[in-house]
C-alpha cells in the first residue's frame, strides 16, 4: 500500500502552514512504548528534509522498569532548524506524552504556549496514580499555559490496525507509529522514508508491516482530517556546504573513525571490549564489520579488553578498547603498561555520570583528570575530546594517527550525550584523507636494532613487530635501556621518565592551534569549553550576543597535550569562563598549568549544560563584577 492509498483518505481540511526557524520536540512514553524508534525515524525524515538537527535520547537504566512509572519514562528530543544548530535545545515547543508518567517527568521543560499532545486513553485512574497525580491534569486545567491536545491514540491505533488481525497488545505496540505519523504531518516532514523503512524492517512479517504502516498513516491522516490543528508547521532546509550527508550518532561516528584510521594506516583494526553502557554500541557496530577486516573480541572483563588490544598492537594491529568510566579505572594498570612498552593503543571512554555505577545512562564529563592522570607513576597519555557526534569521527581518526605515529596510548573522551546524540554529517571522501605511516622497522639497522631508540623529531621509538627476522627482542614493564635491557640505573629511569613525557608533549607539534570564535575581535570574555559542551557554549554565545553581551568562544578538542597557543589565548581575555559537566576539572588544570584564574561553571545533573543557565551565569557574573568595582 502506497501512501495516499490509505483507507482513511484525507478529507481536505484547510490548514494554514506556518514557517518556523527552529523547533524543539520531545517524544516521551513508557520504556516499552518505542519512543527511541519514533525519535530516530522522525530524525531521519528531518535529515531528508534538509534541516540541521541535533538529538538527545534519554532512557532509563532499567531495561524494563515498572510499566507506567516515572522511573520507566523514555524520551527522545530533537532540535531542528533552518540554520546551523549545536544543541538538542532547551525549552520544548512540542511535547508528546504517551502516558501520565511521561507528562509528569517532562512537562517542566515545555515552553509557555508550547503544544502538548497526550494519549488520553492512557490517562486512566490507575496510570494517574502510578505517576503520582491525584486528578487528571488534562481535565483539571493544570497545564493551562500550553495548547493541550488530547488524542485517543491507543483506540485510534487499535482501530487502524484491526484488519491485520494482531492481538490487542501487539496492536497497541504500533501507537508509536501513530504518534510519528501525527508529528510527520504537523511538521510537514516527507513520509516516504518512513514508509520505505517500515516496509523493509518488517518485510518478513506482513501483518506487522501492515499494522505499522496503517498506524503511521492513521496518525498522519488524523492531523490532516480532523480540525484539531489550526496550523501546521514547516521548517525550511538549512544552508549547508555541498556534499553527501547522513545523520550519525557519536558511537557510530567513533566506530567509523577507528575503521578509517586503521585503513589509512594499512593496519588491521582490533577491538577488545567488555560490554558497558553507554559504550557498548561501538562494540556492536564493529562486531558487524568482519567483512571489512575488523576483529572484535568480547573479553572476559575490562582488563582483558585492554590487554588483548595491547597484544594486538604488539602484533602490528591498531589495538583499541572501548569502555566507560568504571572500565577506565579497571584498565589503568594496563594503560600504564602500554605507556611503558610504548605501543599504539586507543582507549575510548564514553563518559557517564559517576562515581561507581552512578547513573549509567546519563552524561557527565567527570573522567577528564582520570584520563590524564589516573595511573600510577609518571604515565603520560594523549587525551582527545570530540565536540559533536560527527566530530567523534574526526577525533577517532586523530586518535589512530597519534597512537600509531607516537607509539602511545590515546584516550578518546566522548560521553553519553555525544554517543547517543545525532546530527547531520558530511561524509568525507576517504581517498582524500591523509594516510598514516605506522613506520614499522623491517630491516636490521647497521648499528644493530635498539627497540627504544627514537625518531629525533617525534621521539617515537623504532618498533619492530613479531615475524620480522633478525629483530627479535623483548619488551616489558620493567624500566629498561634503549636496547630494552632491564635497568635499575637511576640515570636511565630519570631519562626514560622524561623522554616518555616529552614524547607526549611533542604531540602538540602536530595538532591545530586552538581556534577562537570572536567575530568582533573585541570580546573580553572567553567561554572555554571542552568536549560535548560545544553545543551549550555555542547556544549560550548566540543568546548572549542577541542580548548585546560580547563574548568569544573556544573549544578544546585536544586536552592533553593542549594546543600550543592556549597560553597566549588565555592571556588575551580578562575573563575566561570554563563550563563543564563536572566540578571543575578543566578549570583546575588551566589554573595549574597557566596560572590563569578562570571562572568555573559546573553542573552535574546527568544532562548537558543548559545554555540558558550558562547565559544567566555569565550575566550574573558580569553584574557582580561590575558592582564590586
Amino acid at each position: 500500500m502506497r501512501f495516499g492509498e490509505s483507507p482513511h483518505q484525507p478529507k481536505g481540511v484547510c490548514v494554514r502552514t506556518e514557517h518556523l526557524e527552529r523547533v524543539v520536540i520531545r517524544f516521551a512514553g513508557d520504556s516499552g512504548d518505542g519512543m527511541q524508534l519514533l525519535g530516530t525515524r522522525f530524525t531521519a525524515e528531518t535529515a531528508l528534509a534538509g534541516n540541521d538537527l541535533n538529538t538527545l535520547p534519554n532512557y532509563p537504566a532499567e531495561i524494563r522498569a515498572p510499566l507506567g512509572s516515572i522511573g520507566g519514562v523514555s524520551s527522545f528530543q530533537i532540535h531542528l532548524a533552518n540554520r546551523d544548530i549545536t544543541t538538542p535545545g532547551d525549552k520544548l515547543d512540542l511535547l508528546v506524552a504517551m502516558n501520565p508518567a511521561a507528562l509528569k517527568a517532562n512537562i517542566a521543560d515545555l515552553a509557555r504556549g508550547g503544544i502538548l499532545i497526550a494519549d488520553t486513553d492512557e490517562f486512566t485512574t490507575r496510570n494517574l496514580t502510578k505517576a503520582g497525580y491525584e486528578t487528571d491534569p488534562l481535565a483539571d486545567g493544570s497545564p493551562d499555559d500550553f495548547q493541550v491536545i488530547g488524542v485517543n491514540m491507543t483506540a485510534l491505533t487499535v482501530a487502524a490496525v484491526e484488519p491485520f488481525g494482531l492481538g490487542r497488545k501487539d496492536a497497541q505496540r504500533s501507537k508509536n507509529m501513530f504518534g510519528l505519523g501525527l508529528a510527520t504531518w504537523l511538521y510537514s516532514r516527507p513520509p516516504e522514508s518512513t514508509e520505505a523503512f517500515l516496509s523493509q524492517k518488517f518485510a518478513k512479517n506482513e501483518s506487522v508491516m501492515g499494522a505499522n504502516l496503517a498506524a503511521f498513516h492513521a496518525g498522519y491522516d488524523y492531523g490532516e482530517a480532523t480540525e484539531v490543528f489550526a496550523v501546521r508547521y514547516a521548517i525550511d532546509p538549512a544552508p549547508m556546504q555541498p556534499g553527501t550527508y547522513r545523520q550519525i550518532n557519536g558511537n557510530r561516528a567513533t566506530a567509523f573513525g577507528l575503521m578509517v584510521g586503521a585503513h589509512l594506516a594499512g593496519v588491521p583494526l582490533f577491538l577488545g571490549s567488555y560490554p558497558i553502557t553507554p559504550a557498548t554500541d561501538i562494540l556492536h557496530e564493529l562486531s558487524k564489520r568482519k567483512g571489512y577486516g575488523v576483529t572484535t573480541f568480547q573479553a572476559e572483563d575490562e582488563i582483558a579488553g585492554v590487554g588483548s588490544a595491547i597484544g594486538a598492537s604488539y602484533g602490528g594491529a591498531l589495538g583499541v578498547t572501548t569502555t566507560s568510566g568504571p572500565g577506565l579505572s579497571l584498565k589503568s594498570e594496563a594503560i600504564g603498561l602500554a605507556v611503558m612498552l610504548e605501543l599504539p593503543l586507543v582507549v575510548v571512554d564514553v563518559q557517564r555520570a559517576g562515581p561507581s555505577t552512578g547513573m549509567p545512562t546519563k552524561t557527565e564529563q567527570g573522567d577528564l583528570l582520570q584520563a590524564i592522570y589516573g595511573r600510577h607513576g609518571e604515565s603520560p597519555a594523549v587525551v582527545l575530546a570530540p565536540v559533536t557526534p560527527a566530530d567523534c569521527f574526526d577525533m577517532a581518526v586523530e586518535a589512530a594517527r597519534i597512537a600509531l605515529t607516537y607509539r602511545t596510548p590515546v584516550i578518546l573522551l566522548t560521553d553519553s550525550y555525544l554517543s547517543n546524540g545525532a546530527e547531520p554529517w558530511k561524509v568525507p571522501d576517504i581517498t582524500t584523507l591523509p594516510t598514516i605511516d605506522p613506520n614499522f622497522t623491517t630491516e636490521v639497522p647497521e648499528s644493530g636494532y635498539l627497540p627504544y631508540a627514537r625518531d629525533p623529531e617525534t621521539l617515537a621509538r623504532y618498533m619492530a613487530i613479531p615475524g620480522t627476522p633478525g629483530l627479535e627482542h623483548r619488551v616489558g614493564g620493567l624500566e629498561k635501556t634503549l636496547a630494552s635491557q632491564i635497568s635499575t640505573d637511576p640515570a636511565v629511569h630519570e631519562e626514560m621518565v622524561r623522554v616518555r613525557a616529552d614524547k607526549v608533549a611533542r604531540v602538540a607539534d602536530t595538532i591545530p592551534d586552538l581556534v577562537v570564535h570572536d567575530p568582533t575581535g573585541e570580546a573580553t570574555i572567553l567561554l572555554l569549553g571542552w568536549g560535548s559542551t560545544y553545543g551549550p557554549v555555542d547556544a549560550a554565545y548566540q543568546r548572549l550576543s542577541r542580548e548585546g553581551v560580547n563574548v568569544a568562544t573556544a573549544m578544546l578538542r585536544y586536552v592533553n597535550p593542549m594546543p600550543a597557543n592556549l597560553g597566549e589565548v588565555l592571556a588575551r581575555f580578562d575573563t575566561v569562563v570554563v563550563p563543564e559537566v563536572n566540578l571543575g576539572q578543566l578549570a583546575t588544570l588551566i589554573r595549574a598549568r597557566y596560572l590563569k584564574d578562570v571562572v568555573s561553571f559546573t553542573h552535574t545533573g546527568g544532562q548537558p549544560i543548559s545554555s540558558i543557565e550558562l547565559k544567566e551565569f555569565v550575566q550574573d557574573y558580569l553584574k557582580t563584577k561590575e558592582a564590586s568595582k
Partner: protein, 342 residues
Amino acid sequence: MSGLDLVPQATTPTTRKDYVPANEVRWCPGCGDYSILATFQSVLPELGIPRENIVVVSGIGCSSRFPYYVDTYGVHSIHGRAPAIASGLAISRPDLSVFVVSGDGDALSIGGNHLIHALRRNMNLTILLLNNQIYGLTKGQYSPTSPLGSISKSSPFGSPDYPFDPVTLALGCDATFVARALDTDRAGLSSAILAGARHEGASLIEVYQNCMIFNDGAFAASKGPDANVLPLVDGEPLVWGEFGLVRNEYGQLVSARVAEVGIDAIVKHDPHRVDATQAFALSRLKDSVGASAPVPMGIFRDVERPSYEHVLRDQAASAHMDGDPTGHLQALLVGPDPWIVK
C-alpha cells in the same frame, strides 16, 4: 589440525643456541626455572618454525622473567594478564606460535579469570604454568596452590586457604590439552611442550618447579628413585611400582596390586577421549586412592576442538567482500539514507 598450521616453516633449521640470548639469567642459583628454560630452548628447534615467529608472553613473578631469557620476540607484561595479552596477539597474528609462561600466583590468583577464559575459548596458546606453591618474588607468601596449613611468612599459623589443583581446574574449564611435568624431567617436559605447541587451541602444562629458597623440596616425593609418580602413557595401563588403577563399584579409580588383579584389569590411559571424566579422576587420585596416591605425570587430556581463532577466521572468510576495500568502506560511511546538498 595443528596449532602451527598457519605458522610458516623454518627455511633453515634452528638450534638451541639460537634461543639463548646474550643477557645473563638472574634466577636464584639452583632454581627449578633453569632446567625448565634449558628444556624449552632445546625443544623449540624441533617445532621447525622460524625463530621470529615465536613469541613468549609472561606476567609477573619469578617465572615471568622467562621471556627475557629466550631469544625470540617476547613481552614481560603485568601481573596475571599474560593470557589476555597473548589472546589479542594470537587472534590477530595466526602466523605466530604464542607461548604464555606463568606461575601459580600469576595464573591462578590475580590472573585466574584470564586463564579460565583462555582455556574455555580454546585460544591457540601454549601455557606453561610453573607451579612452586609459593610466592617467590615477594619473598615467601603462600599461594593458591600451597597445601592447606602451609607455614609461610604470611601464614605463620598455617595457610587457611584450600588450594587449587591446576590440572583439575583446567579440566573443569573444558581445556582441550592438559599435561603435567616436572622441572627436572627433561624428557617428560620436552614431550609435553612439543605436543602442547602443536596442539590446536589452548594447552595447559603444569610444571612442578622447585623453589630452593622459600619452598625447597615441595615436590621431593615426585623425584628420585623412590618417586611416587604415575606415568600417563597413551594406550598403556595406569601402573606405578607394584600398583595399578582399577575401577571400584562407584566407578572411582582406586589402587590395586597388579599381581593380585592381573594387568588386564588395570585401566588404560586414553587422553583423546572427549569425555573428560577419567582425566578428571586422574587429577583427583588423592580423593579416591588416599594419601598414598601417586602424582600422575604426562598428558591428561588431548582432544580436538577448533580453536577460537579458527572459528573467527571462518566467520571472517564468510563475511569477506570481494572488490575494492576502500570502496566498500566509503559505501559503509555513506550508509543507506544519505542526502545530497548541492
